[in-house]
């Protein structure tokens, strides 16, 4: 996988500044961390919710989720075990959760990692009118889970500095937030040094109508802080700064 390895090396260099053998070590670590997170995802998804939580050592910022009533957008990224985070938060929020997923992404794996149930429903963003469903769900006080790190390559992207260099991020979560007036809650699920998961919930914020780009910058700052702390759990195996040039 030379292309993926090159992309990860570029990311690790920018995230950490390391070079040489240290860079090689970090790069290998990304692939091993990914293997661990993915195998955990497949196995824990087949377990009841109560057993799933036994893999989680600590939840930081849970009071931020508890303080929110009504609809909210749980915003995460391809960092750590993002799908496990979604299921855990769905259980904690006690509200129906609609998880937006990319169309045709590893279709053969869907039955292993994307089972509807326990309050979670996976929604493909392939249908353009899916946003109407999401707006309605948020108005009903439900939760929408979205990824905020992969640009779409359309006019729905916004350019924001990421580790000092412009990168494109999707604007959709922020338009939904401003459209309904619901908060965005950045949340991540990361492997700790003891190979248990820690869930980190950052400060919620609400996008203001007409100022969605500012909200995107707030999100990217939260993402950057997590990636700085856990660089080897960055699981975007492409060049995040030039995703459409490959």
């Amino acid at each position: 996988m030379p292309t993926e390895r090159d992309a990860i090396q570029k990311a690790m260099t920018r995230f950490t500044g390391v070079t040489g053998s240290q860079l090689d070590t970090l790069t290998v670590r990304v692939f091993t961390d990914f293997a661990m997170c993915f195998s955990d995802l497949v196995s824990t998804n087949r377990q009841p919710a109560a057993r799933r939580t036994s893999h989680v050592g600590n939840v930081e910022g849970l009071e931020r989720l508890a303080s929110l009533s009504g609809g909210l957008i749980s915003l995460t990224a391809h960092v750590g075990n993002w799908e496990l985070a979604g299921r855990l938060l769905a259980g904690r929020s006690a509200r129906p959760t609609h998880v937006v997923v990319a169309p045709d992404e590893a279709r053969e794996l869907q039955r292993w990692v994307r089972r509807d149930g326990e309050g979670v429903r996976f929604v493909s963003r392939s249908r353009p009118t899916v946003s109407l469903e999401l707006l309605a769900a948020l108005r009903r006080g439900e939760v929408v889970g979205m990824q905020g790190d992969r640009a779409l390559g359309t006019k729905g992207d916004v350019e924001v500095p990421f580790f000092g260099r412009p990168a494109r991020f999707p604007l959709g979560p922020f338009l939904l937030s401003s459209g309904v007036g619901v908060p965005l809650l950045p949340a991540f699920c990361l492997l700790d040094a003891q190979y248990r998961y820690v869930v980190k919930i950052a400060e919620p914020f609400t996008a203001v109508r007409g100022e969605e780009e500012a909200a995107a910058r707030t999100w990217v700052a939260a993402l950057e802080a997590i990636v700085r702390e856990y660089p080897t759990q960055w699981f975007n195996f492409f060049d995040i700064w030039e995703p459409f040039d490959q």
């Binding site: 963003r125 249908r127 353009p128 009118t129 899916v130 946003s131 109407l132 469903e133 707006l135 309605a136 769900a137 108005r139 009903r140 359309t154 006019k155 729905g156 604007l171 959709g172 338009l175 939904l176 459209g179």
Partner: protein, 91 residues
């Protein structure tokens, strides 16, 4: 509100919020299909539908019903005009 009036308001929303090219407005009719990937459609994507629905709420003064399956109402300008008129009539 008359059909033509609602349609004109929708065209205004499309220019204002969806940055639709005004010179293309004469091409729009009740038969115009909206979602992308459908033959002959205007090619609206998910972000466009957010803008369109928020614009409708602001322009017509009602909140789009969260209990209904809304996709059918946003398939074409004609369907959307009918939906808006029915909501206005309910008030």
């Amino acid at each position: 509100m008359e059909i033509d009036k609602v349609l004109e308001e929708l065209k205004g929303i499309m220019v204002e919020r969806l940055k639709f090219e005004p010179s293309r407005l004469p091409d729009l009719s009740l038969a115009t299909v909206l979602p992308k990937d459908l033959e002959g459609s205007l090619g609206l994507d998910s972000l466009d539908f957010i803008e369109l629905s928020i614009g409708i709420e602001e322009r017509f003064g009602f909140v789009i019903d969260e209990a209904q399956d809304l996709a059918a109402h946003f398939q074409s300008l004609g369907a959307l005009v009918e939906y808006i008129r029915s909501r206005l009539a309910d008030r």
